[in-house]
């Protein structure tokens, strides 16, 4: 570097600075600085929470879903045994009710969040994204509510 110790970056040869105390240089905003136009709340940590949820729910789902498949498709005659009476027997136990309820909620939320990522990746028009996600969220809320209702209102003596 040069030995220039003057406060101005512009040397004497090039002449005086365009700006001084009475005529200050225009203020240039730093890129991506928050301004009055920035929304008050940005997305916060939602994406990070979603990322973490995918991993935590995934670990729990391994046990719930593979256990479910083992019971429904492998043990005790496989699919052949499934019927109304079989379901009545299983949902007589609060343990399996809670199991199915947890599996329903975690799998639906995990799958819906995964599909949200897929939609964000492939739907390029903002409007398409909006509609696809609207459809996804509607279907997800409907399925979770229906499945929950079915578990809580199950009646073995319906007929």
């Amino acid at each position: 570097m040069s030995a220039d110790t003057s406060s101005s970056a512009i040397g004497e040869v090039q002449g005086a600075s365009l700006y001084d105390v009475d005529n200050p240089a225009p203020y240039i905003e730093a890129p991506r600085k928050r301004t009055s136009k920035t929304p008050r709340s940005t997305r916060g940590n939602f994406e990070m929470a979603a990322w973490l949820f995918m991993r935590l729910s995934g670990i729990v789902l391994v046990v719930l879903v593979i256990g479910h498949l083992l019971i429904q498709l492998v043990l005790d005659g496989g699919v052949s045994k499934i019927g109304f009476a079989f379901v009545a027997g299983r949902w007589a136990s609060p343990f399996w009710q809670v199991w199915d309820l947890l599996m329903l909620w975690l799998a639906m939320l995990h799958g819906a969040n995964g599909l949200r990522t897929v939609i964000n990746d492939y739907a390029e028009r903002a409007n398409t994204r909006l509609w696809l996600k609207g459809l996804l969220y509607t279907a997800t809320v409907f399925t979770i509510l229906l499945g929950t209702l079915v578990i809580f209102t199950f009646d073995p003596n319906i007929r």
Partner: protein, 126 residues
């Protein structure tokens, strides 16, 4: 999709593609599955009628496919988690992928008889 953006990755890319495809398939199955289970609130006959289709040989093959999708997604999901949280995960990601494939092949072989046995018995007798 914009043209010319195909990323020619290696095993890692294909495992990601398979993870995505299986995840979407399972979600669509689950949607239908909650609807069919809801028939227990209609009548025992309605439920048993629909479940009867689950016991046909063709649907048995679909069930085998569903098991394949879930087992891959579950095993590979654990691998993704290990890559993210285990300090040596990224270094061993390839070995873990082949472990996933190996365990998947063994489990799928083990699932043949339990999942498809009844269909074979129906098609070929006894």
């Amino acid at each position: 999709m914009p043209a010319g953006t195909l990323y020619r990755g290696r095993e890692g890319m294909w495992s990601w593609v398979a993870h995505r495809v299986t995840g979407v398939l399972i979600f669509f199955f689950l949607f239908v599955h909650v609807l069919d289970t809801a028939l227990v609130r209609v009548s025992p006959e309605a439920y048993d009628d629909v479940v009867a289709t689950y016991k046909t040989p063709i649907v048995a093959c679909l069930e085998y496919g569903l098991v394949a999708a879930i087992l891959f997604h579950a095993l590979n999901g654990l691998r993704v988690i290990a890559v993210d949280f285990w300090s040596k995960g990224p270094r061993y990601q390839k070995q873990m992928l082949w472990t996933v494939v190996g365990v998947w092949v063994v489990l799928m072989a083990g699932a043949v008889y339990p999942v498809l046995g009844h269909a074979a018995a129906e098609l070929f007798g006894k």
